[in-house]
């Protein structure tokens, strides 16, 4: 986001820090964002269930991906256990709702807090270790939680999974895609604004300082332990809320959905979207959710009668994800958000760019 400020339009001047750290880089960006949200609110009126389903998926995965970006992209730590926190959020929300009877409306943020508590606990090693060692420590938490999900009958229903009640508001059940879309959109807006805002705060700047040079950060008086653990906590909060939204959308939560594969997909989302970019988290999620759909569409287009191709679809989808990650690492390591900025700049200076 910072680089967007350095490429502002002609005629925009900033004379103090306050103007330099607005949530949206320019008034135009703010207006575009507001109009986009308003337009998205119209989608349920004419969108099909398929489109809404994809948008809802993008919503809950996007929230979780932003959480991972906070820990990986902004604080420079690594986490291979994000899917487990996503799952913990889903199970927590279903569990709180079914054992205490608290409405789902409150269960989602509560599940977020519960996941955050566990995340702070699991983040403790991050205060001490870094790099590959941290990767292995978070991998361990992924497996511990996964195994816990498969065995804790009282909490998750064990290997059979748990039912999650639909979201309801004032007695009105929002269990159709049409109505649930608004719930997800609400959370996306809130969580993304909060995420952007976080980076304007003292804590957010501390995260970036820890990432850029931990020794300098410590010398400046930043408590490394505190901020590394805090960033894991905040990241888990996002994962928990995303997971809870996922659980109540599907209506069923099962341990097998939150494997290391999903953790890697989350990593792929933030790498493809752009490490250290709030909007990149969303772009990466959009890319990762739509890629399999595009593959499926392509396969049906080329050979709906070719049974070998249709049967290989599952493999094609998986391979496309792997290929996309490799291609991005080679050709666009800064991710989609960087590419998007380049496109904007190109048109900003068109036709006189050099």
């Amino acid at each position: 986001m910072a680089s967007a400020h350095s490429r502002m339009r002609c005629g925009e001047f900033r004379t103090n820090y306050r103007q330099d750290t607005t949530i949206f880089p320019t008034p135009l960006a703010r207006r575009v964002a507001v109009v986009s949200v308003l337009l998205l609110m119209l989608v349920p009126m004419f969108g099909s269930a398929y489109q809404l389903n994809l948008l809802i998926q993008i919503g809950y995965y996007g929230i979780a991906a932003l959480g991972l970006n906070i820990v990986v992209g902004f604080t420079g730590q690594i986490s291979l256990g994000h899917a487990a926190f996503f799952g913990l959020g889903a199970f927590s929300s279903a569990w709180i709702n079914s054992t205490t009877g608290i409405p789902v409306f409150f269960c989602i943020p509560l599940a977020g807090l519960m996941t955050m508590a566990v995340g702070l606990l699991v983040g403790i090693p991050a205060g001490r270790i870094k790099g590959l060692y941290l990767a292995i420590a978070t991998l361990a938490s992924q497996y511990i939680l996964e195994d816990f999900f498969a065995r804790a009958d009282w909490f998750t229903g064990g290997s059979a999974g748990a039912m999650a009640n639909p979201f309801s508001l004032f007695g009105y059940q929002m269990n159709s895609d049409r109505s649930y879309f608004y719930v997800v959109l609400f959370y996306v807006v809130i969580m993304y604004l909060a995420g952007t805002n976080l980076l304007r705060t003292r804590d957010g700047r501390a995260f970036v300082a820890v990432r850029d040079h931990y020794l300098s950060a410590e010398i400046m008086g930043i408590n490394l332990n505190k901020y590394r653990i805090l960033s894991f906590g905040i990241s888990s909060l996002y994962a928990g809320i995303g997971g809870a939204l996922f659980g109540h959308y599907l209506g069923f939560v099962s341990a097998e959905g939150f494997t290391i594969m999903l953790s890697i997909q989350f990593l792929a989302m933030v790498i493809i979207g752009g490490l250290g970019s709030v909007m990149g988290s969303m772009l990466g999620t959009v890319f990762m959710v739509l890629l399999p759909e595009v593959m499926e569409f392509g396969v049906h287009l080329v050979g709906s009668n070719n049974s070998a191709l249709t049967q290989a679809l599952a493999y094609i989808k998986e391979m496309a994800i792997g290929l996309a990650i490799i291609l991005f690492l080679i050709f666009e390591p800064d991710g989609l958000s960087h590419r998007w900025k380049m496109i904007k700049n190109y048109w900003k200076l068109y036709p006189f760019s050099y």
Binding site: S36, V37, L39, L40, V43, G47, S48, A49, Y50, Q51, N53, L54, L55, I58, A150, R151, G158, S159, A160, G161, M163, D177, L250, G251, F252, S254, E256, G257, M279, M282, L283, V286, L290, E293, V294, F297, H300, L301, S304, Q311, L313, A314, Y315, W340
Partner: protein, 414 residues
Amino acid sequence: MRKSLFWLTVVLALSALSTTATAADSIPVGHLACYTGPTSDVGVPYGNGVADAMNYINSNGGVNGKQLEYETVDYSYKAPQAIATYKRWVSDLKPVAIQGWGTADTEALVQFIAKDKIPYYSASYSGHLTDPTGKSPRTKAPAPYNFFYGPSYSDTCRGLVQWAAEDWKSKGGNGAPKFIHMGANHPYPNAPKEACAAYAEELGFEVLNPIVYDLKPGDAKAQCLTLKDSGANYAYMGNTAGSNISLLNSCGTVGAKPQFLANVWGWDENSIKAAQESGDGVAVPLGAPSWKDSAPGMATVRAISKMSDPSGETYRNLHYMRGVCAVFFMKDAMEVADKQGGITGPNIKNAMEQMKEHVPAGLEGVCKASTWTSEDHRGTTEISVYTTSYNGGDFKFNPQSTVNVPRRDDWLGW
């Protein structure tokens, strides 16, 4: 950017919609298959059986002249994926019946299909799906719209245990035989775990602690050593064929040789070939005649097989026949429903529950006579126990006994 995302989805979805135009006078049916994933070893032949049978019905007059319009989705044995597919179907395909697959997903869908009134023919024979009213105290949730063709996993295991008790006596065993349950920590192997152990205890077995081994084939020597140390005489294998082959090979290596009992998905012609001598003597409940059998209904099955294999040379294993049977019970119920007010979910359910000792026409000797009532969805409780021998590659199924497991009330839904 969100705007461009939106237009992208619009374009994608419109193009997807244009390919699923519905023909008039057709019957939408969902087909959830497992062509990839941990149970694909048996999911592929079963899924082929289901697809071929539906194509055969369509090219032979349909259901009272109406064509089955089915959509196959490979969900890779992931329950969340199955639920997502189901939710999509409810809004676009609007199926009146679904041919499904695994236990995890079928049990997760029980409440959804009951609410939407869509009969669901699973390839999961979990005992939890047999109580439509929820009157049994063992039942966690009533499963009014669930059907499956064959004896439940629990009843199958009970039948095997009953056979094992006789086998122990006839071989002159001393003391209480030891029984052990083996399987992954997954709803499918877990389904008969407690029910079967309870019956084994009733029959005088000593029941040992269960052993967990993975659904994905892999080395299982550690589990086999545990099995050997436990001194089990009868070991029930709860996983599918691929996983069991690797288990038996591992156990052959470490010398653990109890009498293995396989579940209905746990042993077939391919596994006999693959496990060779390590698999000699596995006791298995045969759910269908084998491909070379001369049962009268096999002529129809061979005609069905030609839908995807015009040469007629492909060998189809046991699971294929069971897929065919599942579709033909559905078809017969649809025909009755059509005459009783139209092919809708509730009418199909009613028609299913009127079936008494029913065998689909043309499949005599292939599908077992099955009875469903509005209070009991245990289609059949007859278990035909066979043992298999590798026989140097020319494998044999040796009939042992046919066990009629009693339809006890306290076993409903368990």
